[in-house]
């Protein structure tokens, strides 16, 4: 029998992997992908809560979450393209000066 904890633990493992990706990787694209991973882990736990607490709110929030994630990706990639045009790099440690 699947319990809520199964889903929560899976969600949390994915969340930790996402955090690790954000902290460990230098490539902005991978960092953005790790952010998507975090969004997804949150979606899993929200959907699991919706199912096990018999309420629709979690499902609705997943829909909002996905929308926000899509917006975030659009903006993030646009910033990435703009940064790449001016600096010719995608590595975060090379993007340390504000002034350019």
């Amino acid at each position: 029998m699947l319990t809520l904890n199964h889903f929560l633990i899976l969600s949390f493992i994915l969340f930790s992997i996402g955090v690790a990706g954000v902290l460990l990787r230098r490539n902005i694209i991978i960092v953005l992908m790790s952010l998507e991973l975090i969004f997804n882990s949150v979606n899993i736990s929200l959907a699991a809560f919706a199912y096990y607490l018999q309420s629709i709110t979690g499902t609705v929030f997943v829909v909002f979450n996905i929308t926000v994630a899509a917006a975030e990706v659009a903006i993030g990639l646009a910033i990435l393209v703009a940064v790449y045009r001016t600096r010719k790099t995608v590595y975060v440690e090379e993007l340390k000066d504000m002034r350019y």
């Binding site: 899976l10 997804n40 699991a48 709110t57 829909v63 996905i66 899509a70 917006a71 990706v73 903006i75």
Partner: protein, 175 residues
């Protein structure tokens, strides 16, 4: 039966998620992320929300990842070298993540559901497309509008960010 499927999906999802943050080629990363998203969609089906699964595949796999791949290809981002891959921040970051994992794992195992249960039966949740639609347009109409506005702003913002300035042309931005 369900448990077997859950474990298959969960293990593949975790393995591909680890691959996302560990392989050096961004395109391979994106591929593994697609695999991970598909597993998450399957887990949504286990959670009796086919609508969420379809939306997950449609938006994440069908649109977001295509955008990622498009960006990787347009910018011609090559492989990372090993030195860039393992940097000085690696050990503290790893310790932090493991600590986080331990703490929240302990919290999850000790946690109990104390909130009152909702009033949706399982049959309603299984055919939840209609229920989701109804609550989106009644109970959550205000957040829904805000989110759609956010999406519009993001769309316009993305276009503004990548648009080359008029008059300058392509030559000047490249220099």
């Amino acid at each position: 039966m369900e448990q077997i499927f859950f474990y298959i999906f969960a293990i593949v999802a975790v393995a591909s998620a680890i691959a996302v943050i560990s392989v050096r080629n961004p395109v391979h990363s994106a591929m593994y992320l697609i695999v991970c998203f598909l597993q998450v969609a399957a887990i949504f089906i286990l959670l009796r929300s086919p609508f969420l699964a379809a939306v997950q595949v449609f938006i994440y796999v069908g649109a977001v990842m295509v955008l990622f791949l498009f960006a990787v290809m347009v910018l011609d981002i090559g492989k990372e070298s090993f030195g860039e891959h393992m940097h000085s921040q690696a050990i503290p970051a790893g310790i932090t993540v493991l600590g986080l994992l331990a703490v929240v794992g302990w919290l999850i195992s000790k946690g109990k559901i104390t909130v009152p249960l909702g009033n949706y039966t399982e049959e309603v949740l299984t055919k939840n497309t209609e229920v989701v639609g109804k609550s989106l347009y009644t109970q959550f109409i205000f957040p829904f509008e805000v989110v759609s506005l956010l999406l519009l702003i993001a769309l316009v913002g993305a276009i503004v960010l990548v648009m080359k300035e008029k008059g300058k042309g392509a030559g000047s931005t490249r220099s």
